[in-house]
C-alpha cells in the first residue's frame, strides 16, 4: 500500500452521467491507490461500464472531476488517456483474426522495427516471445500462430500482453476471466500481482466473487449508478458484498416452490448416444423443474442436444405428454412443443442485428398473422406484453438485441420461446454471463412457466442455482446417471461428490427413470 501522502493513481469524484432520462451514474466516486488491485463490482446496469467508458475518454461526464496521479483532467479523449498510461482491456477481443500473435501484439506500435516503415518481422516475433514469457510464463502460445487458430483464452492473453507492452500505469480489465480456464486464471492473477508489486494499479471488473476475494486489495461496489461502498474483500464476507450489490438477501433470490405437479411432460427412457452417454432415463412432469448436471464430458450437454434433435440417438425412447415421438431435427422438436435455450446465445439463441420484436416473434410469426401477412398491431402488443413480463430493460421493442446486456439478451431468448408457448423447456446454462438481478428474474420466470404447467429441464453447473430452483436433480458422470436426488434432501457437497465421481455409484437398484415422488 502506498503512503497516504502520495496522491492516488486515480480519483474520480462525483461522476454523474445521464443518457436521456436514464441516470447511468449519479454522484459516483472511484478512488484507486497506486500499486493496488481494485475490484469493481455491480449488477449490469449499475454503471460499471459507464464509469469505465468515462475513464477511457469515450463518454464525457455531465458532472464530476477526474484526477490522475493528483492532476485534474479535463476533456479526456482516448488518445490522452493512453498517453497518461491508462490501458483498458475490453471484453471484446479486438484482434485481427488473420494476424500472427507477434503482429497483433505490435499493431499500431510497430515503430522502431526498421527504417522507412519496413517491418523487421524477426525482431517483432522475438520481442513478442520475450513479452509473453515475461508476463505469461508457463502458458504455451506459439507466436507464429494466427489469432483465428487460438482459443479465446489465448486471445485474451494476447490482448492483455498487448496492453502491458505499453507499460501502463493503470490497467483496466473488463471481465477478463470469462473465457479462461482455472490454470489460465491462476497465471493471469500471478501476472497481475506481479504488476501490482511493480507499482501498477489494476482495476478489475468481474462477476465472479471468488476472484474478487482472491485477487483484490479493495473493491468498490456500484449500485444504481452510485458507489455504495469500498471495502477490503479479504476481510469482508462475499455475502455482504453481494448484498450490497443487490440490496437483497441471497436466500430471496430463489422463488418459492408451490407448484402443482401434474402428468409427465417429458419422459426419456434409456437414451443413448454412443461415446457420449448411455441409457440415460429421466422424467419431467408438468409443473416440475428438473436439474441435470455433470462435469465437462459427463454427456449432459449432449443429452440435452439429443432431446432437441441436434444429435441422433443410437437407442432409447422419448415420450412427450405420454406419447412416443421421434425427434431427429430441431424442427420436429419445435413441432412437438419442445424449446431449447442454448448456452451460447450469441451464436445460436438470438439474431444480434435484429430488433427485440423481430427476435421474439421470429419462430412464432404464424401466431401474429394470417395468410403469410404479419398483423403488425397484434405483433406489437404481443411483444410488448412479453417485454413487460420479462422486464427486459430496453428503450423499446425496436432496439437491436446487440445493444442489450447479457442478462437482457437471455430474456429475449426466453421471450422468443414463451411466445410459442412450448410445453417442455430445455435450458442449457441459462444464467451464464448474466448479472445477479437478471438471474433472479430468470429464476422467477422459470418458476412461473412451471406454475403454468410446463415441464422444465435445466442443465447447469452452478450448483447453488440448481439447488435453488430445481425440484429434482439428475447427476451424470461419464455418460451415466449416477444419482437422482431430491434437492430438498441433498446439498451441494453431496451433488459435487456424485458429479466428480468421488462417490461411486453403488446403488444399481437406483430407479433413474422414476423420480422420487414429491
Amino acid at each position: 500500500m502506498t503512503a497516504t501522502s502520495r496522491p492516488p493513481a486515480l480519483s474520480m469524484r462525483g461522476i454523474t452521467k445521464a443518457f436521456g432520462p436514464v441516470k447511468a451514474l449519479a454522484d459516483a466516486d472511484l478512488r484507486v491507490e497506486r500499486g493496488t488491485i481494485h475490484g469493481l463490482v455491480g449488477q449490469n446496469g449499475a454503471g460499471k461500464s459507464t464509469i469505465i467508458k468515462i475513464l477511457a475518454g469515450l463518454f464525457r461526464p455531465d458532472r464530476g472531476t477526474i484526477e490522475i496521479d493528483g492532476e485534474p483532467q479535463t476533456h479526456l479523449n482516448p488518445r490522452q488517456v493512453e498517453a497518461r498510461g491508462i490501458h483498458i482491456i475490453h471484453q471484446d477481443r479486438l484482434l485481427v483474426p488473420t494476424f500472427t500473435v507477434g503482429e497483433s501484439l505490435f499493431l499500431g506500435h510497430e515503430g522502431g522495427f526498421g527504417a522507412f516503415g519496413l517491418l523487421n518481422r524477426r525482431r517483432m516475433q522475438r520481442q513478442a516471445g520475450e513479452a509473453l514469457r515475461r508476463y505469461f510464463s508457463g502458458i504455451d502460445l506459439p507466436i507464429e500462430a494466427l489469432i483465428a487458430d487460438l482459443t479465446t483464452a489465448q486471445q485474451k492473453i494476447v490482448q492483455i500482453t498487448r496492453a502491458l507492452l505499453n507499460r501502463p500505469s493503470i490497467l483496466v480489465l473488463d471481465e477478463p476471466t470469462a473465457a479462461l480456464n482455472k490454470g489460465e486464471v491462476d497465471t493471469l492473477f500471478t501476472t497481475l500481482r506481479g504488476l501490482r508489486d511493480e507499482g501498477i494499479s489494476v482495476i478489475f471488473i468481474s462477476h465472479y466473487m471468488q476472484e474478487i476475494e482472491n485477487l483484490c486489495d479493495r473493491v468498490t461496489i456500484l449500485r444504481n449508478g452510485k458507489d455504495v461502498g469500498t471495502v477490503d474483500p479479504r476481510t469482508t464476507p462475499i455475502g455482504d458484498i453481494v448484498a450490497m450489490m443487490i440490496a437483497r438477501d441471497i436466500k430471496e433470490m430463489f422463488p418459492g416452490r408451490k407448484r402443482k405437479i401434474g402428468a409427465p411432460a417429458l419422459e426419456i427412457r434409456d437414451l443413448t448416444v454412443k461415446g457420449k452417454f448411455e441409457d440415460v432415463s429421466l422424467s419431467v412432469r408438468r409443473g416440475e423443474i428438473v436439474g441435470i448436471t455433470g462435469l465437462i464430458g459427463s454427456g449432459a450437454k449432449e443429452f440435452l442436444q439429443t432431446i432437441y434433435g441436434l444429435r441422433r440417438a443410437d437407442g432409447g425412447q422419448v415420450l412427450i405428454g405420454g406419447k412416443r415421438v421421434v425427434i431427429d431435427t430441431p424442427a420436429k422438436a419445435v413441432a412437438h412443443g419442445v424449446a431449447l435455450v442454448p448456452e451460447d446465445r450469441r451464436s445460436h439463441g438470438v439474431a444480434l442485428d435484429l430488433s427485440i420484436r423481430e427476435n421474439v416473434t421470429l419462430s412464432s410469426l404464424s401466431r401474429y398473422g394470417s395468410m403469410g401477412f404479419i398483423h403488425a398491431g397484434r405483433e406489437r402488443s404481443g411483444v410488448d406484453a412479453l417485454i413487460g413480463e420479462l422486464d427486459v430493460k430496453a428503450a423499446g421493442r425496436e432496439v437491436l438485441v446487440r445493444k442489450l446486456s447479457g442478462g437482457n439478451q437471455q430474456k429475449v431468448v426466453l421471450a422468443k420461446w414463451l411466445s410459442r408457448e412450448s410445453s417442455v423447456y430445455l435450458l442449457d446454462e441459462p444464467t451464464v454471463g448474466v448479472d445477479v438481478g437478471s438471474k433472479v428474474e430468470i429464476y422467477q420466470l422459470l418458476s412461473r412457466l412451471a406454475e403454468k404447467g410446463a415441464g422444465i429441464l435445466v442443465l447447469s453447473t452452478d450448483l447453488i442455482e440448481l439447488m435453488g430452483i430445481c425440484d429434482h436433480l439428475v447427476v451424470l458422470y461419464r455418460g451415466r446417471v449416477v444419482a437422482a436426488l431430491r434437492t430438498a434432501e441433498t446439498d451441494t457437497d453431496d451433488v459435487l461428490k456424485w458429479a466428480t465421481g468421488a462417490q461411486a455409484s453403488t446403488r444399481p437398484d437406483m430407479p433413474a427413470a422414476t423420480m422420487p415422488a414429491s
Binding site: R79, E82, H90, D92, L94, L95, V96, P97, T98, F99, E103, L107, G108, H109, E110, G111, F113, F116, G117, L118, L119, L146, I147, A148, D149, L150, T151, T152, A153, Q155, T177, A178, A179, L180, N181, K182, V185, H207, Y208, M209, Q210, P237, I238, G239, V242, I250, L295, I296, E343, E429, V432, K439, S460, T461, D462, L463, I464, T492, L496, A499
Partner: protein, 345 residues
C-alpha cells in the same frame, strides 16, 4: 466446476465454462483451408500440365515470355484491386472492391492517346494520364469513405462515368497514337526482357514490398480484416481505405500506358478486363496460408489466367470460352472463401 460449500454466498462463484477451451476456428476449418490451398495448387498444376502436353510449345521460352507480357496489364490492374480488397475486407457484399478499375484504364488510355495526338510531349501526356487515374481513384475514395456508399455501388457508378468519358473522348473509335515513348515501350528491351515484362516485374516487387514488408501494409491488412481492432489500435481507417482506392486509380492509369503501347493507341473494350481482374485478385487468396489477398497470390493468379487464355488459343478453342471459364473461377473462389468462413464461425 469450482463450486463448493465455501462459495455459498457467491452468486456467480460457479464458473461453468472454465474447463472448456473455446477454439475460435475449429480444426475442421483449418483442414478445409489446407484442402483448398493444396487443391488450388493441384488444379493449377493439372491445367498447366494438360496444356503442356496438348498445346505444342506451351512451355517454350518464347511462349512463356509472351504470356508474361500479355499478363502485365492484367497483373497491374489486379494489384490495384488487391489493395482495395485488403483494405476494404473480403466480404463479398460490403467489402472493398473497385469495379471501375478496368474502365479507368480505358479512359486513361483515351487521355494518353488523344493528348499525344494533340501534340503534347510524352512527359506531359504521361502526367495527364496518371493524373486522370489518380483523380478517378480519388472520386472512388470520396464516394466510399466520404459519402459512405457501398464500394460495390460507388465504383459501379464511377465505372459508368469512366465508360461514358471514354466514349466522349474517342467517339467509340480506335485512336492510333505514336510517340517516342510508345515505340520504346512496345519494342524496347532491357537485359533481353521487354518493357511490358519489366513493368510487371518492377510493379510486383514494389507492391510486394509495400504490402508484405512495411508497417503500412500490415496496417492495411488490419483495417480490412478487423475494422474495430484497427480502430482500437489507433489506426486512421479512413486514410488507409482512401489510399487503397487512389493507388488502384494509379494502377488503372499505369495499365493504360501499357495498353496504348501494346495496341499502338486507345481502343474500345477496356472494360472487358474487369472480370479477369476480379478473378486474379480473389483467386490469389487461395495461394496464401492465411487465406487473405496477397500480391504474390494475385501475380500467380494473373499468370495462371494468362496461361489459360494462351493455352486455349494454342489448342484452337474459341476465346469466347475463356470468359465462361473465368466466370466459373470467380464462382469457385468466392464460394470457397465463404465456405471457409462459415466453417470458421
Amino acid at each position: 466446476m469450482s463450486l463448493g460449500p465455501a462459495a455459498t454466498g457467491a452468486v456467480q462463484a460457479g464458473s461453468p465454462h472454465r474447463d472448456r477451451p473455446q477454439t475460435a476456428r475449429t480444426a475442421r476449418a483449418g483442414g478445409i483451408d489446407l484442402m483448398i490451398r493444396v487443391g488450388a495448387y493441384v488444379a493449377v498444376a493439372v491445367v498447366l500440365g494438360y496444356f503442356s502436353v496438348a498445346a505444342h510449345g506451351f512451355f517454350s521460352l518464347s511462349n512463356v515470355v509472351n504470356v508474361v507480357e500479355q499478363s502485365a496489364i492484367l497483373g497491374i490492374l489486379a494489384f490495384g484491386m488487391t489493395l482495395v480488397v485488403i483494405a476494404g475486407g473480403m466480404n463479398v457484399v460490403s467489402g472493398g472492391i473497385d469495379l471501375s478499375i478496368a474502365a479507368n484504364m480505358g479512359v486513361c488510355a483515351a487521355v494518353f492517346a488523344t493528348s499525344i495526338n494533340a501534340g503534347v510531349s510524352d512527359p506531359v501526356a504521361v502526367a495527364l494520364t496518371l493524373g486522370a487515374g489518380l483523380a478517378i481513384g480519388a472520386v472512388n475514395a470520396f464516394a466510399v469513405i466520404g459519402l459512405g456508399v457501398l464500394p460495390l455501388l460507388a465504383t459501379l457508378a464511377v465505372m459508368n462515368v469512366c465508360i461514358g468519358a471514354e466514349l466522349v473522348l474517342t467517339q467509340n473509335t480506335v485512336i492510333s497514337a505514336a510517340s517516342p515513348l510508345i515505340s520504346l515501350m512496345s519494342s524496347g528491351t532491357f537485359l533481353g526482357i521487354s518493357v511490358y515484362a519489366w513493368f510487371l516485374i518492377v510493379a510486383s516487387a514494389l507492391f510486394i514490398v509495400l504490402v508484405q514488408y512495411t508497417r503500412w501494409g500490415l496496417r492495411l491488412y488490419a483495417v480490412g480484416a478487423h475494422r474495430e481492432a484497427a480502430h482500437a489500435a489507433g489506426l486512421p481507417i479512413a486514410k488507409y481505405q482512401a489510399a487503397s482506392y487512389v493507388i488502384a486509380g494509379l494502377c488503372g492509369s499505369l495499365a493504360a500506358l501499357l495498353s496504348v503501347a501494346r495496341l499502338s493507341g486507345s481502343s474500345p473494350g477496356a472494360n472487358d478486363n474487369l472480370l479477369p481482374v476480379i478473378v486474379a485478385a480473389l483467386m490469389g487468396v487461395v495461394f496464401s496460408r492465411r487465406m487473405v489477398p496477397t500480391i504474390g497470390g494475385t501475380l500467380l493468379s494473373a499468370l495462371f489466367i494468362g496461361f489459360l487464355a494462351n493455352g486455349f488459343q494454342l489448342i484452337n478453342v474459341s476465346s469466347y470460352w475463356v470468359n465462361g471459364v473465368q466466370g466459373l473461377l470467380i464462382l469457385a473462389v468466392v464460394s470457397m472463401t465463404s465456405l471457409t468462413k462459415r466453417a470458421g464461425t
